[in-house]
Symmetry: C2
Subunit: 621 residues, 2 copies
């Protein structure tokens, strides 16, 4: 017996292989999902596999493997499927990691969604021999006929600039390299390259009020090549949306200033990604943007002034596709490429919410009733059941971002992110980001602290700090208002006691009351109770650091077992990536926006009533 | 009796007019069709009328008339209907030329085609009260719903820049003027005006190898407001197409030079039209261009290099619509407007031929077999019967434009345009343009002269000037070759005898042989004989001056009764105007291009054979 017994994991398929069989070929025979993107030519390095058994029987690493595997990968036992052959009569167990499969995964908050890459922009190659035909058909027609016949593209036509490029690529001899066609959405040839052309890349951009994140992806396989982020420089004209909207109402020229500043910041991020990867901006053919409705308006140079007054009507809610050269100032990409901005749902529920819903639909395709929260200065939430999705938005204020809080800070090094208080004890345990001496408290720490004050009985139901407590931490501060000392001066890096003051509690109450009231209204509309909620998804950075049990104690989140609560990180960015690399996902996003039913709370007396009631805390029995 | 008796021709209506009646008002009373585009304010100059009787009784030209009438028009007896008053007790006969009528007619060579205006670009007005609705629908949707409900526009969407304009036109109060929407092709809103907006205008441009003509039209009623023309400055890089094509093959940068020079020349013409009418280029929303295939390529910045080698394949033959801002250098018009370039039929049968066919289809909708010729350096011809149209193109050389002819000149003042020779007489009668002393001979004169030489028996069948003639006009010239003296030195303004030399006859033979051979091949393909041709249409300036009988004598035109021959002037420009103001006509043009069957003659041995035979003349019996 010279055959080897080769097993592939995790599929569990095995094959009796003749000696000298290449692992790649065996995988193909068994229909095992491994990405041989370069066709097994040892160029792409995508077919990495773990050799779980029989490694010692294989030859040493080939030159190809040395080039394409990192030292760490080599140490972990990875080889390339295209470079290993089964030797005589051994048992070989090959484990195919998910990263080496053809599927594309969108990672979000530690979980991931699998998407089949099908980008809008694709590259086709036409041999020049086509032009040597004696036919009198124009060049344009020769190519379009070929595309229809060989690729089934019946609706495609040339963009004007591509036609100019084609005309210049013609020569009497028609020798030389093939012609590369870059085609958008099977419909428009947006670029013609004389020499086949290089790769095609795409950008997903999460345009946040505070932060802008930019992902550079390979459109062929959907992989992230580079990520960069920065603060949104529009903050110079106002931290919150309303200030920026007012700036535009006051002076129309501020619209261009705001647009320019965000486009330029994205351009800096694109430059970073391009430098990191050696990719030319010219080869970036599509950009998919998600943000809240106002940010999307500003990015597109649409005046958001109508978002400044009731009924907060946006100019448009549709997904918008423009050619890059229509955007002024220009985005650093191929100017004949396309920019797609996700559809919105309402004036204060934007493409970022659509993105988050898109991700959740894939994380929990049939997961019963689910509540999705994207908590920030403005909190958007969606409640979905089999009947559909209702969404709303509420102003939850900047307390969770550390603003308007006495010692509030963002999630920076030294910020208190965890607080543990035990009933009956005067001890307070604080953990800080980076384990440094504390300099202030960030959102997740604030939630813990408020929960602690509730659980240790230091708060009245209406949020007033109790006067009759025995703990020295509860005192009347210099300003004459009550405060609770979280960290004594000497343990801080601030030079003074870090406290939660009465006003801080009130700020928190307003924030949590807005969220709690909005949740209650959504649940009432769907006629469901807290315990019917199958899953709560929390998007955004804040959601990843929050202690769900403590959030429930404060009333911020509906009371469900904490295993039903899942943080999904920057789901807006993840959704934008999905919509970038998959046209199917983009269609889903359009459908989500179309179908989500928006509930306007700002003028709703029911909301005001619920808000007032939600200012109270539920105290432990 | 103080009244005047005023008659209007060609309507034949008359009125007894009180003294001092303005001709304009009389015309209105009688419902006479005269265009008072400016409302009779002496601005537009459209109400030109001939005073056939009673001119001497009218006062001298007013200042308005001096400004708006050209010296030639004044010489021909034209006045302005808005500026003349009927005096006491006279008979006045006013002849209203077709150019001054209100109908939308496309005038072409004295005949005209009536077209219902239905331009691609239209203006709609939306009242601002729409925006005061409490609905949460975005502004975009409010407008689109309104357009669908009130105007049946179900397919329309906002262009990106129009959406930006809309966003800026929003205000909290929504008081003030209505919003004007400029919509292209019932599909795209290309512009939003805060205050309803001004008129919408269009350009038809005939981009000829030698001459560029620009018509400014009101898109609402299809009326011509102004016309201007100039030489094509590309001539600096070569008189003929092949030289320009070679320039591009030699150096790709010449493509941009050629494109720029023609676009800039059109811009100068647009400026002229705008200055004459007071219309802003910003209000010009569409431009429709017709030219030969090479000129259309150059105008669009498409390299025409493939037209320089067999099989003379164009880059594209389709009608092309681009947004104005895609053209570099820019055309002087609204940059969100559209530029439409007519479809072509083959490398040397372009949109100008499609235009001519369009006009002929309307002039002779069911006129049996018809032959259409557009004679120039390149002559395009089409032969149509109920089965369809076949077209071809042949190089007829520049002889008809006076080039390569000893005393050849273009159709300028002093050019001999008519020659009359009588068999048996040595007298030669010449008429010149402008009745000046002759300085040379132009195309129509040359045709007459050759016909005269044939009819007076001075030519052999092979074109050789006879040696044994008695007339002193036939002699051996200084160069040693035979020549025929048309005008003796002392009668010229040239200072020497104006002659037709042997080489001139050969140049003519080559030109007429090409046309004759091509005609024969077309007729053979359709299996028809000369006398079956119901009508011959000759497009272009040359066609208007040519004597058809003499052209038949030379063999240039098939032998049909001369009443079947009709000159249709600059039909390319007329067709471009039709396609500008009527979408139906544009669809017809697309269908013409699609259906015309092209016959390539350049490599056809049958054509070479016919060409050699057609070098001979048919001598009178």
């Amino acid at each position: 017996m010279n055959e080897s017994n080769v097993t592939f994991l995790p599929a569990g398929k095995h094959i009796i292989a003749p000696p000298g069989s290449r692992v790649m070929d065996l995988a193909k025979m068994l229909n095992i999902n491994i990405a041989f993107t370069c066709g097994g030519k040892g160029r792409c390095g995508r077919c990495k596999v773990f050799v779980r058994k029989g490694m010692e029987t294989l030859g040493p690493l080939t030159e190809t493997e040395k080039n394409l595997l990192s030292p760490e990968e080599i140490r972990s036992g990875l080889r390339l499927g295209c470079a290993i052959w089964s030797p005589l009569a051994v048992d070989l167990v090959i484990d195919v990691p998910e990263d080496s499969t053809e599927h594309l995964k969108i990672h979000t908050g530690g979980t991931s969604v699998i998407v089949e890459p099908d980008p809008s922009v694709k590259r086709y190659v036409i041999e020049r021999s086509l032009f040597r035909s004696g036919s009198l058909l124009p060049y344009e027609k020769l190519i379009l006929d070929k595309l229809e016949k060989e690729h089934g593209l019946a609706q495609v036509s040339f963009g004007y600039e591509a036609l100019q490029q084609l005309s210049k690529s013609i020569s009497n001899s028609e020798e030389g390299e093939a012609v590369g066609l870059t085609i958008w959405n099977d419909r428009e040839i947006i670029s013609v390259q004389r020499e086949g052309g290089r790769g095609i890349y795409g950008l997903a951009v999460d345009v946040g009020t505070t932060t802008v994140v930019c992902y550079l992806l390979n459109l062929n396989d959907g992989k992230i090549l580079s990520i960069s982020s920065s603060g949104n420089p529009q903050a110079n004209m106002g931290d919150d949306l309303m200030t920026r909207i007012s700036a535009v109402i006051e002076n129309e020229e501020n619209l261009f200033r705001l647009q320019s500043s965000v486009v330029e910041s994205i351009n800096r991020l694109i430059k970073d990604c391009c430098v990191a990867t050696g990719i030319a901006p010219e080869d970036i053919y599509e950009c998919c943007c998600a943000g809240n409705t106002c940010m999307q308006h500003l990015f597109l140079g649409l005046s958001p002034q109508s978002l400044g007054f009731s009924p907060y009507r946006p100019v448009t809610k549709q997904g918008i596709t423009i050619t890059a050269n229509e955007l002024h100032p220009p985005l650093l990409m191929n100017q004949k490429g396309k920019i797609y901005v996700l559809p919105s749902i309402a004036g204060f529920v934007g493409g970022d919410n659509v993105s988050v819903q898109l991700i959740v639909n894939h994380l929990a395709p049939n997961n019963g009733i689910r509540l999705i929260l994207d908590i920030g200065t403005n909190t958007e939430m969606a409640l979905a059941d089999s009947q559909g999705v209702i969404v709303c938005s509420c102003a939850s204020g900047p307390a969770f971002e550390g603003m308007h809080i006495t010692h509030g800070v963002r999630g920076i090094i030294g910020a208190i992110e965890r607080v543990l208080m035990t009933p009956g004890s005067i001890e307070v345990k604080c953990e800080t980001i980076g384990n440094k001496k504390p300099i202030g408290i960030c959102g997740s720490g604030l939630v813990d602290a408020i929960a602690g004050l509730i659980q240790t009985g230091l708060l009245h139901r209406n949020g007033v700090l109790k006067a009759d407590s025995a703990t020295p931490r509860l005192r009347v501060g210099a300003s004459g208002e009550r405060e609770f000392v979280l960290v004594w001066k000497e343990e801080t890096d601030l030079g003074k006691d870090i406290v939660i003051g009465q006003r801080d509690v009130i700020e928190f109450q307003k924030a949590k009351a807005a969220i709690q009231a909005a949740c209650k209204i959504l649940m009432r509309r769907k006629k469901i109770t807290e315990n019917q909620i199958g899953k709560i998804f929390i998007a955004g950075a804040f959601g990843q650091y929050i202690d769900p049990d403590n959030a429930i104690v404060t009333g911020m989140l509906p009371s469900v077992p904490s295993e039903r609560i899942q943080a999904i990180g920057n789901a807006a960015g993840s959704g934008a990536r999905m919509a970038l690399i998959s046209r199917e996902s983009r269609r889903e996003a359009e459908a989500i926006a179309e179908k989500s039913e928006y509930i306007e709370l700002s003028a709703d007396p029911e909301f005001s009533r619920e808000f007032m009631q939600s200012m109270f805390f539920s105290l432990p029995q």
